[in-house]
Symmetry: C2
Subunit: 404 residues, 2 copies
């Protein structure tokens, strides 16, 4: 698509979230009232991220009415389509070429650390080629594993889903007591799994045990933990991250599933599958039953929350507003002449919660992973008060639930 001079492209990448469209709309709004306000500048949406750019599959967003944008902003998932492509230098060369062909001078990419890395590589190539292309990254991830920011847009809404789910499921497990394992997204970081702790209202509410990737998981200790809670309360609700690993860093899913529950292809796949939850449930059934002699074996069930965590249409109020503002901030950076960078959220107060935005270097975010700091963990299977103080204002008010 060739259209005038000095255009912008915007795209979305990686796993969608409940608010990634807020950021897309924020970029479009900010750009329309900034660089595109007084010149013949277009802002073009890339279909399915950079794969659409290199294929020339672009959607002109310059004139889209504000009410249509507002409806898109309030819709979960990536309205332009997303992509799992992780561009290598050759791919980035094609991105740069596509930008030159369409007179693109601003490249906005909403995504995780791989998207920041794409921005970084493309920007470096443009500099080398003497082509004026500004590359701005807008962060998103439900995992909250990006560096340089207090938290990442997308995480608060996913955390709100997880906390709500645990609170309701905990009462389900009081109704019909047993061992209930819920597997939560988060391959490298336990922030989302830890958010389950916000579900607790009473001292004996679940989750009673929380397992995150940051703490090596030991199967025998796990069964012992469950036995202790179950013996005390007659029930046990567990939050387990899909990314839990053993002491040598080997994924527990792989270990347990290859130990007897591998699928017909010999594949071990964690997301979009119930395999890890089912494997943990088997472990509890096996060992708890044999260890308890003739006592009635507990009812053991596992749910894997799956993709609903990233697309449930009840965003946290803070996330909804910050994701939009992060997009606008990136457009403002562009208007002010920034050549590249990512957007970081800086928390300015816990209570009442407030935040502001700042530009950070792409290299601070690109291709790196943040994990939960030690002060957010409490022992081997819980999160700390510091984590709850951190997460609570992000997630927002949860429904008060009553019990007789």
């Amino acid at each position: 698509m060739r259209s005038g001079t000095n255009n912008a492209v915007v795209g979305q990448s990686g796993g969608p979230t409940a608010v990634i469209n807020q950021s897309l709309v924020g970029v479009v709004e900010g750009f329309r009232s900034g660089p595109a306000a007084s010149r013949s500048v277009r802002i073009l949406g890339m279909r399915h991220g950079v794969s659409g750019l290199v294929r020339g599959d672009l959607l002109d967003l310059t004139e889209i009415p504000q009410d249509a944008l507002d409806r898109v902003a309030d819709t979960p998932s990536a309205a332009l389509g997303s992509s799992r492509d992780k561009p290598d230098p050759e791919y980035c060369r094609r991105i740069l070429e596509a930008c030159r062909e369409s007179d693109v001078r601003w490249f906005f990419y909403v995504g995780g650390n791989d998207s920041a890395d794409t921005c970084r590589i493309v920007r470096a190539m443009a500099v080398q080629a003497g082509y004026d292309l500004r590359c701005l990254h807008v962060p998103k991830t439900v995992d909250n594993d990006l560096l340089g920011s207090d938290h990442t847009p997308g995480f608060p809404s996913a955390a709100r889903f997880v906390a709500t789910a645990f609170r309701a499921d905990s009462l389900d497990n009081r109704s019909l007591p047993g061992v209930k394992i819920n597997v939560v997204m988060g391959r490298n970081a336990g922030f989302l799994t830890g958010a389950a702790a916000l579900a607790r209202q009473r001292e004996d509410d679940g989750p009673h045990l929380i397992y995150v990737p940051e703490v090596p998981f030991d199967s025998d200790r796990f069964v012992g933990d469950v036995d202790r809670v179950f013996s005390r309360l007659g029930r046990c609700q567990i939050a387990a991250s899909e990314g839990i690993v053993d002491g040598s860093g080997r994924p527990i899913g792989a270990t347990l599933i290859q130990g007897g529950q591998m699928d017909a292809h010999g594949n071990v796949q964690l997301s979009g599958s119930g395999a890890l939850g089912d494997a943990l449930a088997s472990l509890v059934k096996d060992k708890l039953t044999s260890g308890r002699g003739t006592a009635k074996p507990p009812r053991v069930r596992a749910d894997t929350f799956g993709y609903l965590q990233r697309c449930w249409p009840d965003p946290s109020p803070v996330d909804r507003s910050e994701a939009r503002e992060a997009g606008r901030f990136a457009a403002r950076l562009a208007a002010e002449g920034a050549e590249d960078g990512s957007v970081a959220i800086v928390r300015t107060s816990d209570s009442p919660y407030s935040s502001t935005f700042q530009r950070i270097e792409l290299g601070e975010v690109a291709a790196q992973t943040r994990r939960m700091p030690a002060e957010f963990l409490a022992g081997a299977h819980d999160v700390s008060e510091a984590f709850l103080r951190y997460a609570r204002p992000l997630v927002g008010e949860l429904q008060d639930m009553a019990w007789l």
Copy 2:
């Protein structure tokens, strides 16, 4: 617990729902303003259903403040605790004995067809023993598989969760296209799985294929269906009931899982497990990949919605109000001298939706299962317009979702 004369007991049984507490509170409210208004009559909650009654584990609900009741009503799950016990005649004899010991003259039981059967057996035993015990059943089930009623409290809210989940997940699947299988509750009836169809906004929206227990499931036809949709759209979203069976009535979960994915114990368990979804995903990966030659194999994922379907705290407005009213109606029947019966919802208008309540015989509900009628099905893998007209007012308005 011995307390005065002429008491009532109320209990909850079976899988909890988002509104089973509405019915509990409706019974208490109705009873307090009826039989218990002017006499020294108590209404006692059974902890974990009839198991609490026979153990003497009862909670006096007579004086509980209205605002506390209101908070319980708006909380999902069974606030008194529930039970999976299916009383046989000996168990029912102990129930009757416990009623006599506590001077219980009214027995209210909120539950499915097994609870109606318990009411029926206990009532027959009381009549035979010459003990004046009135037994009233208040229906609940997310499966909507009770006879004698337009629909069952609990179903509309679960259907609302399923429809919302499919609408959001369908956009997730547009963002990152692939084959996505979502497994929905409903062991004998496809109403809840069919409700996924309410998610559709555009012609090409998911769910593209819907498999219910009423239509025999054929693995080869399933793979062919998926291939056709995927070839046309580049994506395919599937709603599969956990209760799908083959032509001879054998559960597909059992067939597929025992064919290669059985757990370490040789158990096949459908609920609280991701096994069926994972087995269906393997089937698609296997056959679609080999059938497509060198074409890129589709991304295949499965989620099992699990217990969140029955406990998510966003009830449908119709369900919230009808579940409360069903409890009050049972109490009113008791006040008017009914000796036994269940509560049926009679739809009086589709648009605008309205309904009323009537007493039906316990035998009409007890120990029987309703299935989807033929006119609610369209071909082998969809529901009909008649079903959508039936389900839409129950589920209520869903969020409009926009796409670029």
